[in-house]
Symmetry: D2
Subunit: 133 residues, 4 copies
C-alpha cells in the first residue's frame, strides 16, 4: 500500500453512517480518515501509535485546515494520501489528499499540526525513533 | 427536568451529523442518547459519572436491545425517558423511551444491562451511594 | 473474503475516534460495523445497497439486540461475520459475530430485524433479485 | 440564549461517546458543535435550516480551519459562540469560539466558509430572507 516511508496511500470505503442527509460524507468525518492516514504512515515506519500511547507519548491536534472540493458518497472507494511536511522538536505537520479513483475527482485536501505531549498534556520532544523525513 | 429520583426525562434535539442519507436519525446514534439519559439520571441522584470513573468505578454495557418505531428527523425535539428496572449487586438494568412531543409519536424503546467494573474490567459491587429504586 | 453467498466475514480495524475514555470500542459503534457487514453480504450476492436506494428500496432497522462480551481496543484487527437467519416477504433477520483473531476472543454477538420500505417509509416486498438463503 | 441576531451563544455538554481514549473531546467532534452553532444562529434569525433544505437550499462547507487550545473533557459544560464574519452572494463565512466557563479556558477557535447550493450541488444565490450582518 505504501509507496515510501514518507508518504502513504490507503483505501477507505465510505460507510453509510458517515453520510449526511444531503447524501455526502459529512465534513466532520474527514478528520477520522486523516487520523487513520497518520496511523498507517507511522505503521509503515514500524511504529504502532497504540504502543506510543502505552509508553506515554501522545500526539494532539493543535491546528487543522481543509478544503472540500467534491462530495463523497456512500460506498465510494476513496484513496487517502498522507505525508509529513515539516517536523520540529515537539511538533509535526502533515498534509492529506483524498481522491476518488472512479472519476479522478479530488474530494478534499487538508493540513494538520500535531504537538507531542505526555500523559498530563505537557509538551515533550518527539521520540528519536520516529522517522524524520 | 427530572420528575423523580427513579426516572428522568431530558430533551434532545437531533443534530444534522446524526442523520443518515434516508433523512433519519441513524440507529447507532440512539445509544449515545440513552447514555446521556443514564448520565442525567445519575446526576439527578447527586452522582456525576465522571467522578465515578475518576474513583475507578465504571459501568459497561453488557446487553442491549431496542425497537425502532418511527423515524426521527434532523432538528426534531425529542424527549428521552430513562429509568432503572432492576438492580443487582454488580449489574443494573435500564429502560428507555424516546418520543417526539410534536406529533406524540414513540420513536424507540430500549433496554440495557450494565455491569459495574474496575479500571481493569473486573466485576465489582455497585457502590452503596448509588440510589436503589 | 466471503466464504459463501449466505455468510460473509470482513476484517475491520478499530479507529481511534471510535474508542471511548475507557479505551474500549464504544457500544454504539458496533452497529456501524454490523451495517458494513450487511453491505458486504449484499455485495457478495451481486447487489450494491447504494443502487437499491437509488431505485427506491430501503432497509430500516426495526429491532436489534446485542451482547458485549469483551472490550475491543484501538487498532485491534477484528473479524465480523454476518449472515441471514430468516427472510420474510418484507423483513430480513441477520446475526453477527465480532471476534478478535489475535487472542481468539469473541467481542460481541448481535441480531437485527430490518424492514423493507419505499422512499416514503411504506412497507414493500423485498425485491426478488435479493438472494434467499 | 442569543445576545443579538448576528452572534449567538449556546451551551453544549460533552457526551461520553464524543471523548477519545486520551479523555479529550475528539478533534473531529468540534465540527458537529460548530454546525449546531450555525443552526441556532439561523433559528435566532427566524429561519429553520431544515425548512431551507426542504425548499432546495443547502449550505456546504467549502473550507474550514481550527486551533485547538485546551482539552475538553466528558461532561464539561461548554459555551459555543458563533457569528458571521462575511457574506457574499453565494458564500458565507462564520467564526466560532468554544470556551469552558468553569475555568475560563478557551477550548478552540475556528472559521468556516460555506457555499450555497441547490439539490444538485450547483452554486446558487443565498436567499434574500437570510439575515445579512
Amino acid at each position: 500500500m505504501a509507496e515510501s516511508i514518507d508518504r502513504i496511500e490507503i483505501p477507505i470505503r465510505v460507510r453509510y453512517a458517515e453520510v449526511d442527509p444531503m447524501g455526502a460524507l459529512h465534513h466532520s468525518r474527514f478528520w477520522v480518515y486523516f487520523e487513520m492516514g497518520r496511523t498507517e504512515l507511522l505503521r509503515s515506519q514500524g511504529v504502532a501509535y497504540a504502543d506510543l500511547e502505552r509508553e506515554g507519548v501522545f500526539f494532539v491536534v493543535a491546528r487543522c485546515s481543509a478544503r472540500y472540493k467534491a462530495a463523497a458518497r456512500y460506498d465510494d472507494e476513496l484513496i487517502l494520501a498522507t505525508w509529513v511536511t515539516k517536523m520540529g522538536a515537539a511538533r509535526i505537520d502533515h498534509a492529506y489528499e483524498l481522491r476518488r479513483p472512479a472519476d479522478g475527482r479530488r474530494i478534499a485536501t487538508a493540513e494538520t499540526t500535531l504537538g507531542c505531549v505526555d500523559r498530563e498534556g505537557r509538551i515533550i520532544a518527539i521520540p528519536s525513533f520516529i522517522h524524520r523525513p
